[in-house]
């Protein structure tokens, strides 16, 4: 029997992406949506393959900067699922792209729109496995560069252009911080491999100050990726301006990758009390800022941007409490509920718009979409029997175990804020009357994807064991 080792997965994803680009370039006549379907099928096949991997083997060579531990495999699957769902959204979003991209044919530009996320996915998957600073940097860049293009894809829309420029400049800046930080750490320890950096730092002969300085710089760069305060400035504008599926991808994929790297990178530095203190303060600020700034929002995309900052705060509580498992579970819940709300948003925005007021009376126009959004919002707010609640439960449990009283108290208060702004969407859908009475069309593919996400949110909210098993 042929054995497949973990790196094959990324290679397969890359090959898939290149193939789709080639087809897009040389077959002008085909319906570009076929490309998206092919990509989804291909990624699905790779997802299935990931369950039949050969156990990790080998030392040296590749395995110096690449690992295939359960956490890595878990987040590879996470990236694949995210990308597939984002592609579903992109198909629904295609009409908007057509309107705002120049071209000779009516489907110009769509091919690249469907192909780029595959490269991002490859980057995310590599990042999940990276245990060496160089590898981390390279895969992070693969993700970021493909996002540069994706964020400004609908380039005839000025808001999108603004988002693109903001993302480009700030992202480049954070990359600078990352490289600079890595050089400091390398300068002190002479190593880039995380395990060996850890070993070196344990040596009392090594001066830890410069290494800590380097780590702080790395933290700044990662803070940018996960949208932690005070590195969150770009989030609201970029999220609002970018094409909606890209926003969803950015808020789930990019954030998850940032947290995986954070979990791996922080390990050697957590022995230092200064580090834990700094992270606690960042977590507190992120919780407060994200939740409070979300309160007055009237645009749903912007609201979800602030909500993504808020959730970064809860995730940071988990990081500070050394609860990798809790963070991973929370990220899964976050993936489901965020993508579900963006999926509904894409469909509804096609008809009316992306302000909360545009959701008025959705319960009448499309009971299914309204229900899907209700489940997503309930889960984001943290109502029991949804994955979002169990995630918070897990995080608070970890925080109490580590006596993080301040974080827990602020966490609970901000949860109450969350109820307010998430239920604002529910209010619009169910309380308010509808300005127009036309039913919202939903494609069958989206309907299936949304139903699957609703089911997953409820099932994981009651029975978390599959995720916990996958992490072991």
């Amino acid at each position: 029997m042929m054995t497949i080792s973990a790196p094959t997965l990324e290679i397969a994803v890359l090959v898939l992406g290149v193939l789709i680009l080639l087809v897009e370039a040389f077959a002008e006549k085909i319906d570009k949506r076929t490309l998206a379907f092919t990509a989804m099928l291909g990624l699905g096949a790779i997802l299935v393959t990931s369950f039949f991997l050969a156990p990790v083997s080998g030392n040296g060579g590749l395995w110096n900067f690449y690992t295939a531990d359960p956490l890595a495999i878990f987040f590879k699957r996470f990236a694949l699922v995210t990308t597939i769902l984002v592609l579903v959204m992109m198909i629904d979003y295609a009409p908007v792209v057509r309107q705002s991209v120049h071209g000779t044919t009516h489907q110009s530009g769509l091919g690249e729109f469907f192909a780029l996320p595959i490269f991002t996915c490859a980057g995310l998957m590599w990042m999940a496995s990276a245990i060496d600073f160089v590898m981390i940097f390279v895969s992070l860049e693969l993700v970021t560069v493909s996002f540069y293009v994706l964020v400004s894809f609908t380039r005839r829309n000025p808001a999108t252009l603004e988002a693109g420029v903001k993302y480009l400049i700030l992202s480049a800046l954070s990359t600078g911080f990352l490289v600079y930080g890595i050089t400091w750490i390398f300068g002190v320890t002479g190593e880039t491999n995380l395990a060996r950096v850890t070993a070196m730092l344990a040596d009392p002969a090594i001066e830890s100050g410069p290494a800590l300085f380097g780590m702080v710089l790395v933290l700044v760069a990662l803070g940018f990726k996960i949208a932690a305060v005070p590195f969150q400035m770009w989030v609201p504008d970029v999220y609002q301006g970018a094409p909606t599926p890209v926003t969803a991808f950015l808020s789930v994929g990019s954030k998850a990758a940032g947290f995986v790297v954070l979990l791996r990178v922080l390990q050697p530095f957590f022995m230092m009390p200064q580090m834990a203190k700094a992270l606690t303060i960042i977590a507190l600020l992120t919780l407060l800022y994200g939740n409070l700034a979300a309160l007055p929002q009237t645009n749903l995309k912007r609201l979800l941007a602030y909500s993504s900052i808020a959730h970064a705060g809860y995730l940071l509580i988990g990081v500070v409490s050394f609860a990798g498992e809790a963070v991973s579970y929370y990220l899964v819940a976050y993936l489901l509920m965020t993508l579900l709300s963006f999926a509904v948003l894409v469909v509804v925005a096609n008809q009316t718009g992306d302000n909360i007021a545009d959701f008025s009376g959705l319960a009448k126009r499309s009971p299914f979409l309204a229900f899907a959004m209700l489940v997503a919002m309930a889960s984001l707010a943290g109502v029991p029997f949804t994955a979002g609640f169990l995630g918070k439960f897990y995080i608070f449990d970890a925080a109490l175990r580590h006596h993080q009283t301040a974080l827990v108290v602020v966490g609970v208060i901000t949860v109450a804020c969350g109820f307010y702004y998430y239920l604002k969407v529910v209010r619009a859908m169910y309380w308010e009357g509808s300005p127009l009475d036309v039913p919202v069309p939903v494609s069958r593919l989206s309907r299936v994807a949304m139903t699957a996400m609703i089911a997953a949110i409820v099932v994981l909210g009651v029975y978390p064991q599959p995720i916990l098993n996958a992490l072991k």
Binding site: L374, P384, F393, D397, L400, V412, V415, P464, Q465
Partner: protein
């Protein structure tokens, strides 16, 4: 297997209604089946038995030792009975609904299912989660079908209860963590065993009890966390107010009796004084506020906040008699307040107002409503013969007995004496409201108002019969709940 049926019958019916089953008929059948199954359990229940009966358990997560466990003892049984009765009455009271009839009934059934699940759960996680299940339906019920300033009221109750719930969640996790690793569990029976062996240290007990008291207190509208209640009940559609004030709010009290008292006896003792002060706030301060109300729905809302004070007094009393009385009062108050809110809803439907100064003389044209309202008001005041009387007497005697010495008053005796004035206060506002609504001269514009429809005799009769039965035969009630409480006060 009867407990899963009782819990999931309303929830499944709610889903069926959302999928298109005929709303009112399905809801009524589901409530009827639930009531029948609960009555069956009530008669099957062996009161002499110690511990939990009808236990079923399904594993959920080994890592957290989390199981979905249902089981009841006497205390849970009477809570289930209360929920089943009030749910049945509330759904029967529901008139025709103009918009989203399906969603309305589904929300009601979800609240009922959440309450039933919370009362039947033996696992703290599900005990908590089931209660929260009712949060969003309540928000929708008040926001969509409410009256008056319904949007503000819906926000307020939702944010308040969400905050309270998460504080409660913290308390429960702290409780879970306070037990040594080997004995750690969410199972109430395992925790009781651990507590009996003294595994929960005293300083941990103190902080956990305070967190639980605040969490549960917000959910039960303990003074000064009560402001959500009157506004929400005044705005809610009558069936929702019946269910929430009658049943769901009692979750906090049930939680104190089920979790906080037996597991954290030392913590409870430490915070007794604080609890006494707060509950006197409920009885005296809120009592006076109730007198000042100008609208019937607000008055009923405040009165329900005020009566929580007596139940808290029973819980704080630290005597078997007082705790039994608290349980009786939980039940009795649930029944009487549900009836009052149901009737107020009927009056609002006919007149469009509940402003006391606008009403008057309705007794002439609504004799049946007047008679029933009178009975419910008497019950609520605590006149002898009604279950409320039995409960209040037991609570007051129980509290008075705590630390009593001849010729000397300690804090409990003072508190009891002050609490007694509450009876007078409730007589003042209830009788005054009765007079302003049903007696006096009737404004001309109400002359076309009709009396209660005859079909309502079923739920009204049921509610009154139950409260009279337990009023005349409180021992049939105490016999069931006291085995539970006796273990709390067993000599160590």
């Amino acid at each position: 297997m009867i407990l899963p049926f009782i819990v999931f019958c309303p929830i499944v019916a709610a889903l069926a209604i959302l999928c298109g089953a005929p709303a009112r008929r399905t809801a009524l059948w589901a409530a009827g089946f639930t009531l029948a199954a609960t009555l069956l359990t009530y008669f099957e229940f062996d009161a002499g038995r110690r511990g939990f009966d009808f236990v079923v358990s399904y594993p959920i997560s080994e890592a957290w030792r989390l199981n979905f466990t249902l089981g009841i003892d006497g205390l849970s049984l009477i809570m289930l009975l209360l929920t089943a009765i009030v749910t049945f009455a509330a759904i029967w009271f529901t008139g025709p609904i103009a918009t989203h009839e399906h969603a309305f009934h589904a929300c009601l059934l979800l609240i009922a299912g959440g309450a039933l699940g919370a009362f039947a759960s033996l696992d703290l996680f599900f005990f908590y989660a089931f209660h929260e299940l009712a949060l969003i339906p309540t928000f929708l019920l008040i926001g969509i079908w409410g009256s008056g300033n319904r949007h503000a009221a819906a926000w307020k109750i939702t944010i308040y209860l969400a905050t309270g719930s998460f504080i409660l969640l913290l308390g429960l996790i702290m409780l879970y963590r306070s037990v040594p690793e080997a004995a750690r569990s969410f199972d109430i029976r395992a925790l009781q065993k651990a507590a009996a062996l003294g595994m929960i240290p005293a300083d941990a007990q103190s902080s956990i009890f305070l967190v639980l008291l605040i969490g549960f207190g917000i959910l039960v509208s303990l003074f000064p966390f009560h402001t959500w209640a009157p506004e929400a009940y005044a705005s809610a559609p009558a069936p929702a107010a019946m269910l929430h004030a009658g049943v769901l709010k009692k979750f906090g009290l049930y939680g104190l009796l089920r979790v906080a008292l037996p597991l954290l006896p030392q913590g409870a003792q430490q915070w007794t004084t604080l609890l006494l002060v707060l509950l006197l706030g409920n009885i005296i301060y809120i009592g006076l506020v109730t007198i000042a109300q100008k609208r019937l729905d607000w008055m009923l809302g405040y009165s329900s906040v005020m009566h929580m004070g007596y139940i808290f007094l029973g819980i704080a009393s630290g005597t078997l008699l007082g705790t039994n009385g608290a349980a009786v009062l939980i039940f009795a108050h649930g029944i009487s307040i549900a009836l009052l809110f149901g009737l107020a809803g009927e009056i609002r439907q006919r007149t469009g107002t509940l402003l006391l100064s606008d009403l008057g003389g309705l007794g002439k044209i609504m004799p049946r409503a007047g008679f029933v309202f009178g009975l419910a008001a008497f019950a609520s005041i605590g006149l002898p013969g009604f279950a409320n009387f039995a409960g209040e007497v037991m609570v007051l005697f129980g509290a008075f007995r705590n630390g009593a010495e001849p010729y000397r008053f300690h804090i409990f005796q003072v508190a009891t004496v002050l609490a007694l004035w509450g009876v007078v206060i409730s007589a003042v506002y209830m009788l005054r409201a009765y007079r302003q609504v049903f007696m006096g001269t009737m404004p001309e514009r109400w002359s076309g108002v009709t009396d209660l429809r005859r079909s309502l005799h079923v739920p009204i009769g049921l509610l009154i019969a139950v409260t009279l039965w337990f009023g005349f035969f409180p021992q049939s009630f105490v016999r069931i709940v006291s085995p539970t409480f006796r273990t709390y006060f067993a000599p160590k």
